[in-house]
């Protein structure tokens, strides 16, 4: 008897250690990255690092502004493309689609979310780049190789489709049937019900899904790296090349130990990503948790 209790005690302590260790990963990552980027922060300071745009590692100049702008452009394009499409898709799947079509559609969203990032990158190079170069860009600018923030945005948009669709669908399912029935009974059409009842009720969830999608898009590395052109210049149009932060880290890991302060600068880039994504994630998770609680009540 005592042995059984002892075993339970020991195992419980062991599991507690495992749990604390893996949760503290969040802190450890932040501290580790900060510790490594201290040298560059001390030398140049936060504001100069973030707001200047000269990137000359050999001369010790590290301005992250072009990379931050590259990330923002790509992310914004991705969200602008993905959000309306995914919202409409989720509405169709939840509110309109007959059960049979629902059964056919859901696996594809799952399959899409299973495709590795590098495959999206290859697809971008093979399909999106030529499309932009030959069919889209000539209508707007004189010349484009296709490698642009637009290409990055499109590839990213497709990558975040499954995430947004699944979260918004979840949120839509939490809306009480009574509310919809009441609206329909008053003579509203289905679309009017969606517009005036469902969307209004689902707004926090849609915001949370968007914030989560933004943070996913922020950190996506390899697919974006393959199609963005990677030029350390601030983009001014969607056909300009861009150089997002994650791509910067991935592209330069090779030489990072051979140039002074370079490793510190790259770790600072990782720290920036970490902080931004951490904030965004916490915001959206808090909103979603609140929704869940409302549903449970």
């Amino acid at each position: 008897m005592n042995f059984r209790l002892l075993k339970d005690k020991i195992l419980s302590k062991l599991m507690l250690v495992f749990t604390l260790a893996s949760v503290s990963l969040l802190l450890v990552i932040g501290i580790g990255l900060y510790y490594k980027s201290v040298p560059i922060i001390q030398r140049l300071g936060w504001t100069e690092l973030i707001t200047t745009s000269v990137w000359k590692p050999l001369k010790g100049l590290f301005g992250f502004f072009p990379f931050i702008m590259g990330t923002l452009w790509v992310t914004a394009i991705a969200i602008i493309i993905a959000l309306p499409l995914c919202l409409l898709t989720a509405l169709y799947i939840v509110e309109y689609a007959p059960a049979r079509i629902k059964r056919i559609l859901t696996p594809f969203v799952n399959l899409l979310s299973g495709i590795p990032p590098v495959i999206f990158g290859v697809w971008g190079v093979l399909f999106i780049i030529p499309l932009i170069q030959a069919n889209i860009a000539p209508h707007f600018v004189e010349f484009s190789t296709g490698y642009s923030v637009l290409a990055g945005g499109i590839v990213l948009a497709v990558m975040i489709f499954p995430l947004i669709v699944s979260i918004i669908s979840e949120v839509l399912r939490t809306i009480p049937q009574e509310l919809k029935d009441a609206s329909l009974a008053l003579g509203a059409t289905k679309w009017e019900t969606i517009k005036k009842v469902i969307l209004r009720k689902a707004l926090p969830g849609i915001v949370a899904a968007t914030v989560l999608a933004i943070s996913r898009a922020f950190g996506e590395t390899i697919a974006v790296l393959m199609v963005c052109g990677n030029n350390a210049v601030v983009p001014h149009s969607v056909f300009d090349t861009g150089y997002p932060l994650p791509a910067l880290i991935a592209n330069n890991y090779g030489e990072m130990l051979s140039i002074p302060s370079y490793d510190s600068a790259l770790m600072f880039a990782a720290l920036l990503l970490f902080i931004i994504i951490l904030l965004f994630n916490i915001i959206s998770r808090v909103i979603l948790a609140r929704l869940e609680r409302r549903l449970a009540a």
């Binding site: 893996s22 409409l88 059409t189 390899i222």
Partner: protein
């Protein structure tokens, strides 16, 4: 009246179009990869390691990368499970009455799940530098393990929560300790664990940003944990960057191989989920 009907119709068409685009993008991607990759596929690709001059278009295959990827993903999944099963059990069975705390922990894992793999890669690199490990199979496994722990914990957590409370109560009321109850619950969720393994193995095999710094690259199949290991996504990335057309083509073929592996895993997991959810109590 007619305006309202028209609006209804208009948005319905818009929704169907959006749905076609979103679900059709899957076919577009897989179709493109098949179309471009198939002409360069041959047996050598999956049965040979790169020969001399492979990267200027001479013969060889990417067996090194396929095996390397399976090693990294396999190692990371096993290591991840060893850590995340106890964590999932702890949150659910040992934290009764501490709702706020367990929910905070859940949220921490959700947030960890959102941290991009490049950050895990950079952090894994820091760990390796700290402990003096060179880019190797071990380094890759460590980084990918960190990456899969949060998702594994949350998936197992969701699976455990589907086990009816009555079952736990019954076990506990018979005088079982919490650990003995945990064993009963674990037996209940075994199918769920298998599906989780499959899903995250698929994810681990396709991730590249985390192994970029940590696993290195090698033309040989690694024979120990301390040797660098090639991985499939990285092999694709390198080959695509080559100016030689033949090598680029092989990159497409490698992409096809990775796509097929991942699709098989995803479909298998899907079938398992369906099969097991049929017999659930």
């Amino acid at each position: 009246m007619r305006k309202r009907k028209f609006e209804e119709l208009f948005f319905r068409v818009l929704m169907i179009l959006a749905t076609i685009i979103v679900s059709g993008s899957f076919f577009l991607i897989v179709g493109t990869i098949f179309f471009k990759g198939l002409p360069y596929m041959n047996w050598d690709m999956i049965t040979k390691t790169p020969g001399g001059g492979f990267y200027i278009g001479k013969e060889g295959g990417i067996l090194n990368a396929i095996i390397g990827s399976f090693y990294v993903a396999g190692g990371a999944t096993v290591l991840g499970l060893i850590i995340s099963i106890p964590v999932a059990i702890f949150i659910n069975l040992y934290m009764d009455g501490k709702r706020f705390l367990s929910n905070t922990i859940r949220m921490a894992f959700d947030v960890l799940f959102g941290i991009p793999s490049i950050v895990y890669g950079a952090f894994g690199f820091l760990i390796m530098v700290y402990f003096g490990i060179r880019a190797s199979l071990l380094g890759g496994i460590i980084a990918v393990t960190l990456l899969v722990i949060p998702i594994l914990v949350r998936t197992l957590d969701e699976v455990i929560r589907t086990v009816p409370f009555e079952l736990r109560d019954a076990t506990l009321s018979l005088g079982a300790t919490r650990w003995e109850t945990a064993k009963v619950v674990l037996r209940q969720i075994r199918p769920g664990i298998f599906t989780a393994i499959l899903l995250y193995f698929g994810r681990a095999i396709g991730d590249v940003a985390s192994v970029l710094f940590t696993a290195g690259f090698s033309d040989n199949i690694p024979t120990s944990l301390h040797e660098p290991a090639a991985t499939l996504p990285l092999a694709i990335f390198f080959q695509l960057g080559s100016p030689v057309e033949e090598v680029q083509g092989r990159g497409y073929a490698s992409a096809l191989i990775l796509t097929i592996i991942v699709l098989i895993i995803t479909v298998l997991a899907d079938i398992l989920i369906k099969k097991f959810s049929k017999h659930k109590i």
